[in-house]
Symmetry: C2
Subunit: 805 residues, 2 copies
């Protein structure tokens, strides 16, 4: 279910979903009891039932039963199959086309929206079939299928022998999919007394009320007698009181849910201190209240709805495409049950266990999987920490020590790093010190940038043409103007470009600078790069040939990284995987693990780092974890008989099993997608092979989920657009800005707002928009690795429209 | 279940647990089929069944059935109740004492160990009753009860209508409690074909094999005919082949589990880069392989068992008390289902959602809960990050900017921090720079400590006497020798001590130093303290009166923290909660949230920080999360129309919903424990009120889970022990070390090794030891907040014994 779909929340219509802990536990009887009592208590409120899928003529009995006993009711079945088997079998056997999950959910919403619009205040009960995990028509279980609707749940417990277990397990299956079970109802069975046990259990463990009602009369063969007995049952004082109290509770919870959501922005405005946010510019109305998230979409509160008259009946929620992939973290979609279960299984097996001198399976398997995934023969060691910034600090400590020892004990010059202008490696102070002075660190008291940062050529598609642009003043003077290419693919075909000698001016430029720095007596401890894309520093696609050349030059210039300023000292390396020149650190936090379409960005560059840092997508977008991978030659530097020579770094939750297990599941899932060719549709959008000669290996090309035509078409809107690039799941639109570029620019704000207005398709999918983040004059959109072709189509249409306004 | 108990893993005995997806799904038939087939396939292997609890005469049928059809079987029922109702009801109704959970599990282990010793190679099937969550005798559900045994599971699926849902939900309830389901078995029902669906489902989602067998013959009234039919059924080719393949799979998985565990240390030795560890001193044999963890205990592989002959029959696992509370993180015990479910519910509702300018319920509720929990009227803002180190950097950035702006735009002197010698605030470079030069940072290339660090008096019980010791050379000259007190409580009674004027020499000492620093032109940006205990810097209990005095002096010495070196400038504060002098940061990462027995360590000191940092126990010991709390007066410093004035810090997973939800559950659980008086047994161990006058408010006293007598008795072992202190869940034993104290000391290693040898109680609870960490000459033990009195008794005995050797 990847199309946008607003969840089912309105102010006056209370929508509840009825799940059963098992088949035949009394869903219909309880639903009838609730509906009939509601009609009696609040005569002006409508009661409606929606049965998405019904199978078998037997099921018409539910329909008839409710129609008979709930006065003035409306009852709708969306898909009816006469064969009395499970929906997934019935749908197949019917010979009719099986409705897609997307269509089924959209029809549910459409009916509910219609019900809200036409019938106003009241109740809508969505009745599921069988147990929580009984398969629906597509074969997906109901608990998985209905997640996007985010309907609060009434769970009908099982009062029979074994029913305690069934009820708790069903509850847990719902809970771990984000369902809010508001009420548990079950019959009173005098022999098993499940209701007594469950009442205590759910009060203690989940603070969910359990309500019991007398068992209904036994079915009689005489339909008339049966009907009379049931009518008497539904009106019996005890039953009505029970139902009344449950309904009161559900009314209250409905109001509380809305009140809580609506209070969030104001409360946040008062008590949250936001990251990277000037809060004097952020009013409560600017704060997005997120109700939940599924796949690529948040469900967010529509601000204006909050203050409108309830009678307007507008949807309170809208589906917001998570256009920043939640700060570049999402890979497998929000609230993916697979990742939830991975997290839960590790939490259940270990909780967290301390890692110094200890080992557990998730940490070990992840370490092995990562080393193997990178395909980098240099890497043999994995160090865990909690986020990209700490992981980069770990990398830095590794690199600096290695270099320091090679400069020798007599050299006391401070070591800096070599990096790229605009490179950014995190917000902790050590990571900040790896960035050149800029707006991000200008007002950070202890910032003390240490290093030299190179200018570099960037890649952009402008006016429909791909070129490598050379902006940096000095660089331009040396290297000349922009260079045009037929395609992005041609730019990435570095062997061909090297054959043409395009790397030579880069090489000369780099060597000249290193030589000058060496003559000045400067010392460096590491080359640290974000491979391919400078992320936080402005979403710049760096000419990969420049990065490749930089790494190659640094590695062979041992002379320029030695304390003896004179003659070249022999490189003290012994093996082919030892570091040379400087330790090369790739900060792959953003660009690694399929973000750019490949497992590793170094495979584009054809060079391997000595240390690489992985976070964000590492856990598929669920919990923080970072892995810093290093070569044995770096590791050995810290080895000595003295324990204080160790790398004295480590966080309390280092290698926490939950994070490791989730990461393992994520990396494996993404690898399986790659093997299965899940991204073939994207690769087939004009990217790969463009500009190549026949006979080249096309599988090695570049590609993006954003169609090439779309990118090139955007780039032709030259009044607003300076240039565009796309790679893997990333699209970066560089907008024109008279007042200059950079973090303080506002050029992209207009486009961001237009995307934020989105579209409203009332009655069908409900309101929908795109939540995008900007970096100065750049608006970027980033999908997860599971985003579908049809989602991309909707997004590209909206972007085109928004740019046109 | 908090007593040590080694999980059930031996090399030759394969123990499997049989859980049912529901009652009456065929557990006994499948168990019989497996046992009977095993006997036929491997005649030299024993087959044993263990039924921990059986109710009703009906259940004797299972017993009889298995005895009849599995030749040479041994069958044991531990607790038999004749009343045919659920065990929790039957046990109560029996009038006999209800066995404790602890006793029940210990008996299971005892039987299994005996079976392993006497019968050797073969199978032990532990049969549960009813469904996975059916309650056992204590009322706890079986899925929760049997966690500590860590037995791999065979789940019998439900082949009836609704059985798909039942089977998946039951599986999920097991999975989130850390059970490894190795095989799912169910009958082939031609009408529902659940086995087909489930087979695909579990292959795709969990890679667990589903095996089906023909339904057994219908029960006949003629017992003889019935027996013949069942015998024929069990021997039918299809059934036997099915059972044979399942058994082969279970044999393989048993071997693989052991092989995987045994390979972990070697693999880790090759590929893991450990935090804070000199790996040249760490052989594979020194690496602890953790199979799982529950409550206060790890299950760890016993290294020597790995290489011994299988015939020795020794337990492969032992129960290891997590004596460092997994680097000070554990509060609610490992693999606590409550925390797992909290994590899963947030993962299911949101996954992770980006937080800049957005808000979600878990983050907001946690923020409000924390602000309220601290009871600090200064605090109004919550900033989230991922660990204590990053949270301290955030605090530091906050404090430094606030101070810088108050020094004024013309002042360009670098700001340092005021701290305590040995204070340690994390491993990222900015946090490191808050620590004085020491072994932790000596070889960190970019370390650049900025500040002044005070000496301080410490508290220790030596030779049975409590005193405040003044070690620091300069400090001693000024303040004199150690001061004796009747109790720890008296030391913490600061009002009485201030009445006696004990703070005056501290005050004079501090003012003199600040005055001198001010005259030297030094500038400071924050006072940063670990309140009460210096943690990583050596587990020193600081005289609280010194810390209190330090905060008070800094706050009223605005003159000493201004750029104008001359006359006192008026304090630019306006409200009672504004910061004055310097922003005061309490790094409560270690000492906060009940670690020392109270919600906050500042309540001991009677002073409130302007900024406080919380991690570790914040999430009860499950996943990384940090919250930095700040006052509005600090927050306002960053408010301006310029977005670059914002606090430009933020990690990708900032305020990740999983962490926030887990923290919310943890903090609430600990608050509930406090309200319920769960720690009254500990408060009643001679701590609180000792040394106080009558009429004092005893509830304000200090206390520890470690008995006062025990602490004072340890302190009298003066040949080995320099002194001891205990507070809340922490016990610190400072050992004598001829070669000096500090991180490089080895004095505590001997005690650590003795605790690591632990005890072996074969046949009952199995081998048990204590995993302790040392900091130089200090061995500390730290419990969770749920550790029981009886655990403490076992630990104190072992410590006494170990010190005596």
């Amino acid at each position: 279910m990847e199309s946008p779909l607003a969840s089912l929340l309105w102010r006056s219509l209370r929508v509840y979903q009825v799940f059963g802990a098992n088949t035949d536990v009394g869903k219909t009887v309880f639903a009838t009891l609730l509906g009939r009592t509601a009609r009696k208590l609040w005569r002006d409120e409508a009661v409606t039932y929606l049965k998405p899928v019904s199978t078998g003529p037997a099921h018409e009995a539910d329909h008839c039963h409710i129609n008979r006993f709930v006065p003035g009711v409306a009852y709708k079945t969306l898909f009816q199959y006469d064969i009395p088997v499970s929906p997934h079998k019935a749908a197949l056997a019917s010979g009719k086309p099986v409705p897609s999950e997307d269509a089924l959910l959209a029809k549910c919403r459409e009916y509910a929206a219609d019900c809200n619009a036409r019938r106003g205040k009241g109740w809508l009960f969505l009745e599921t079939a069988g147990g929580v995990h009984s398969p629906s028509v597509s074969g997906r279980t109901q608990a998985d299928l209905y997640i996007p609707l985010r309907i609060p749940t009434v769970l009908i417990g099982d009062s029979r022998l074994g029913g305690i277990s069934q009820t708790i397990s069903a509850f847990e299956s719902l809970l771990l999919r984000g369902y809010q079970v508001e009420s548990i109802l079950l019959f009173e069975n005098a022999r098993y007394e499940n209701h007594r046990y469950l009442s205590d259990y759910f009060q203690e463990h989940h603070r969910v009320p359990v309500t019991s009602a007398a068992e209904p009369p036994r079915k009689s063969d005489d339909a008339r007698l049966d009907a009379e007995a049931m009518a008497e049952y539904y009106d019996r004082t005890g039953c009505r009181e029970t139902a009344g109290s449950v309904l009161e509770h559900l009314r209250r919870r409905h109001s509380e849910r809305i009140a809580s959501l609506e209070s969030l922005p104001e409360k946040a405005h008062r008590h949250i201190w936001y990251p990277f946010t000037q809060q004097s510019l952020l009013g409560p109305a600017d704060i997005m209240a997120i109700d939940s998230a599924h796949g690529d979409h948040f469900q967010t509160l529509i601000p204006q709805a909050a203050t409108e008259d309830a009678a307007s009946g507008k949807s309170l929620l809208r589906s917001s495409f998570d256009g920043s992939a939640s700060w570049w973290t999402q890979g497998l979609g929000h609230s993916n049950p697979r990742l939830t279960l991975a997290a839960a299984s590790a939490a259940g097996r270990y909780g967290h266990v301390m890692f110094a001198g200890a080992v557990h399976e998730p940490a070990m398997e992840l370490a092995e999987t990562l080393l193997q995934t990178m395909g980098n023969p240099r890497l043999s060691r994995v160090f865990y920490s909690d986020n990209g910034s700490t992981g980069n600090e770990v990398a830095l400590k590794m690199g600096l020590r290695a270099a320091r020892l090679r400069y020798g004990p007599d050299d006391e010059q401070q070591l800096g790093i070599l990096g790229l202008k605009g490179g950014y490696h995190g917000d902790t102070l050590g990571a900040m010190d790896c960035a050149e002075p800029c707006l991000f660190n200008d007002k950070v008291e202890w910032y003390d940038g240490k290093g030299y940062w190179f200018d570099y050529p960037t890649v952009l598609c402008s006016n429909g043409e791909w070129s490598v642009k050379i902006d940096g003043g000095g660089l331009r003077a040396e290297l000349g103007d922009a260079k045009r290419f037929r395609s992005l693919d041609e730019i990435f075909d570095m062997e061909a470009r090297e054959k043409r000698g395009e790397h030579q001016p880069y090489e000369k430029h780099i060597v000249d600078i290193l030589d000058r720095l060496h003559k000045q007596g400067r010392r460096f401890g590491a080359l640290i790069l974000e491979p391919i894309v400078i992320g936080a520093g402005g979403m710049a696609l760096v000419d990969p040939l420049f990065q490749r050349t930089l790494v190659n030059v640094v590695r062979r210039s041992t002379r320029l990284f030695s304390a003896s300023s004179g003659a070249a000292s022999p490189p003290p390396t012994t093996g082919p995987h030892d570091w040379a020149g400087l330790p090369v650190i790739f900060d792959e936090v953003f660009t690694g693990l399929y973000r750019l379409g490949r497992r590793t960005p170094s495979s584009f560059l054809g060079v391997h780092p000595d240390i690489s840092v992985h976070a964000k997508l590492l856990t598929g977008g669920l919990v923080p974890l970072c892995a810093t991978l290093a070569s044995e030659s770096i590791f050995d530097v810290f080895s000595s008989p003295d324990k204080t020579d160790a790398l004295l770094h480590g966080h309390s939750y280092t290698a926490h099993p939950v994070g490791c297990q989730v990461a393992l599941e994520s990396v494996r899932a993404m690898q399986a997608m790659e093997r299965r060719g899940d991204w073939d549709w994207a690769k087939n959008q004009g990217w790969t092979g463009a500009g190549r000669q026949e006979g080249d290996n096309l599988s090695e090309g570049v590609w993006s989920v954003w169609p090439r035509d779309f990118v090139e078409s955007l780039s032709r809107r030259s009044q607003r657009v300076d240039g565009v690039w796309a790679l893997g799941s990333v699209l970066a639109i560089h907008l024109r800005d008279g007042a200059g570029t950079g973090y303080s620019s506002n050029a992209a704000a207009g486009l961001r707002e237009a995307l934020g207005r989105g579209r409203d398709e009332p009655g069908v999918r409900g309101p929908w928009n795109v939540h995008a983040r900007v970096l100065g004059n750049v608006l970027y959109l980033m999908t997860s690795q599971t985003t579908t072709e049809s989602s991309i189509r909707q997004l590209t249409e909206l972007v085109e429209e928004s740019l046109a306004t």
